[in-house]
Symmetry: C2
Subunit: 441 residues, 2 copies
């Protein structure tokens, strides 16, 4: 650490978060210098087009470049901040920066999900800091909580609302009765969703974040391509309304639970991203609009709940800045909370995952249908906790909703297969996991 | 840092938290060693009575002592964990430990509130770690959040439910209709309240925590004896029921808000501990039982909300353990997030604090009373947002409740003084601040 000497950074990307970071470095300069013990100065910004007109003023003395070599080869740059997104160019930049002895701060969850282990190994070899608080849940300091605060705990489970765009859409559908397309269009108009929203609404963004969180919570590598991911694109207003009748909200959930008796560290991980029913009394059900939230349960701490802005210029830039101040303070690298080598996680097959389920089928409104469908459930040993049948006739039949007691996904799918083979279903069945009170407090 | 060599600790106090720490060190030993890079071993435990029978087994190789010199003079002890409580002996122990070059971890909020600045100065002189995550809000990592994660932010306000005992009592009064004495007795029977509950129910414990939080959030010293503190001892079931009619819960709140135009860092602090009305839709109103919660608002992050166990053996011991693992890892001292010298805070006099208020007066049920009381409000320029008058006659009159728009405490007290002088009040008036949506999200 060089007390008094400024920390010079090279910033890659001058979009929403990059310009927010420059704004904060100016607005909060006194606080930052007081806490970091030195100034933080943006020396060079890597952009795609240096001629583009920008709404945000360039910090005094900062120059733009389109050549990433000007960041990594500049001996006066102490740390590189990667906010360009994408995989290949970002990965190349981070690797080059670490190899040139620079510390790195990134918000790139997609990159960390796919190449995290490689990058952490390189950072460890080079004894450099690789920080990424902004990569998950925006302003919520969940990376620090898992890496620094829950270190003496065995984490049992982690449940999160990790994608603000999806949560905004679901909140609008639930509260204002919009259908999915209307809610998506509104989110796009308000800037909460991209023109191509698939990364958010199909669950991939939440999946990237969940992979990063699993590594922090358990020190295990859960390959992204092994994660079961279901988004909200096909969610119907009918299920949101029916779930409300039972006292539930539907949320896009990222979840990991540690089960006992696995091989690595004695645990098996059950993980996935999926829409699920959350009881309205639980804190997680109260998470509205574009907010994010996480619930972590651990053996000493018990349940912890975090709530805050999951995206946006300043909330995300504030998280980047916390990492930069740690670099400026000369903290030793502690990039993952574990050693740099991650054993592969032992993974519970989705079929074996046990949960309570909400199951909706569309059936013909004739005598015996309820008996027949119930029979399919009973044949798979599924015990039904609650049921409603709606009388309104539609072309596709009437909806019949079962809330089951805990069962395996396999049994539930088998029961639906039985019903389908028996010709009882007028359209494809719909099912969601139900988040239990002890999972979400 | 001595990689591989165990971190030897001297533990002062073998009560609820101390024995929880020993339990965790055993149960989570593999995780701890993996994360700390070395074992953590309890070498010596300082107790009052070495002969006392204990339910918790002593760790193998650990010895008991009644002489604090055996902790501070033992060259093989790297860190002292102070969990004995109280002020004088704890202070002497911490000072001696720091002077002997040992790192210190403590959960002692009362000591930190009164002698924090002195202890932080000494730790800085000796270049030692003085950590205290467990001193505020149990398992919630709020010390780390303020010290490490919100470092690039200007904190605007902090609102917390910081005392689990009081929150338990208020929850029982609100949910199960108990009066204060019944709820207190129940809390005592369940072990949530001490035989002498005054530290908790009179707001002092929350006040100690708030002083620690103010230092972390603003880098300013707010003297404990300047903090306005009101507890819940005189809270009536009537006000809890009336508040519910307006859609509010009554919570014991610790709050600090930074107003502009002060002298130190340009801010004036408005701070206090008091029962307040919190709208039922806000997350803070959902905090039930012995849980703690905090809401921090900062200029980059926006509002962050944290919720978790505020006390108890393992939740508190887990926080102590996080600090110990940081010591074991050889982190550099960063005890306050600021320099070791705290400027005195500029304090807003309580009279000038602006808020919406709930005001209940007991009046005679005669024509003109409402007009006369309303006149007292109007004479102080207080605008009334809502009002209810209950018809039920009692010896002490009928209750009349006003919910005011924002006004100063001085104006509100002046209005009540006018009413009193006019002979309108049958007993002493009751008033509470109302937490606004933008204060508590």
């Amino acid at each position: 650490m060089n007390k008094g000497k400024p920390l010079n950074i090279g910033l890659a990307g001058f979009g929403v978060v990059g310009s927010g970071l420059c704004q904060l470095l100016a607005e909060n300069a006194d606080i930052i210098e007081k806490r970091a013990g030195r100034k933080i100065i943006v020396r060079t910004i890597l952009v795609r087009d240096a001629q583009k007109k920008r709404e945000v003023a360039l910090p005094a003395g900062t120059r733009l470049t389109t050549d990433s070599a000007e960041l990594v080869n500049d001996a006066d740059i102490d740390a590189v901040v990667e906010l360009m997104g994408g995989i290949d160019a970002a990965s190349a930049l981070i690797v080059a920066a670490l190899e040139h002895g620079k510390h790195v701060v990134t918000a790139n969850k997609a990159l960390l999900a796919s190449e995290g282990p490689k990058l952490f190994r390189l950072a460890a070899e080079k004894d450099r800091i690789l920080r990424y608080e902004a990569s998950v849940a925006g302003a919520i300091p969940i990376v620090a909580a898992l890496k620094e605060s829950l270190t003496g705990n065995r984490v049992r489970s982690l449940v999160g609302i990790l994608n603000g765009t999806s949560n905004y859409i679901l909140s609008e559908m639930s509260t204002n009765g919009l259908d999915f397309k209307q809610a998506l269009r509104q989110a796009q108009e308000l800037g909460f969703a991209e023109a191509d929203p698939s990364l958010d609404i199909d669950g991939h963004d939440a999946a990237h974040k969940l992979i990063v969180l699993i590594r922090l919570a358990f020190g295990l590598d859960y390959p992204l391509d092994k994660l079961a991911v279901t988004g909200i694109r096909n969610l119907s207003a009918m299920d949101i309304a029916l779930a409300r009748e039972f006292g539930y909200r539907i949320k896009l959930i990222g979840q990991v639970t540690a089960l006992k008796n696995g091989e690595n560290n004695g645990i098996i991980l059950a993980a996935g991203v999926f829409p699920a029913l959350v009881h309205q009394n639980l804190l997680l059900a109260k998470v509205g609009g574009a907010y994010n939230a996480l619930r972590v349960s651990a053996n000493a701490s018990g349940p912890l709940f975090f709530h805050g802005r999951g995206a946006g210029s300043l909330p995300t830039a504030g998280a980047v800045l916390a990492d930069l101040i740690a670099v400026a303070r000369g903290e030793q690298p502690n990039n993952t909370g574990f050693a740099a080598d991650f054993p592969k996680a032992t993974i519970l097959p989705a079929d074996d995952w046990r949960s309570c389920y909400y199951v909706r089928v569309m059936v013909e409104d004739t005598p015996g249908v309820l008996r027949d469908i119930s029979g399919c459930m009973a044949a798979e040993n599924i015990s039904v906790a609650q049921m409603i049948q709606k009388g309104e006739m539609a072309a596709s039949g009437v909806p019949l909703v079962f809330m089951t007691h805990e069962t395996s996904q396999k049994a539930m799918l088998n029961a639906l297969e039985r019903a389908s083979r028996a010709g009882l279903l007028r359209e494809a069945p719909v099912y969601f996991r139900i988040m239990e009170r002890d999972q979400v407090n």
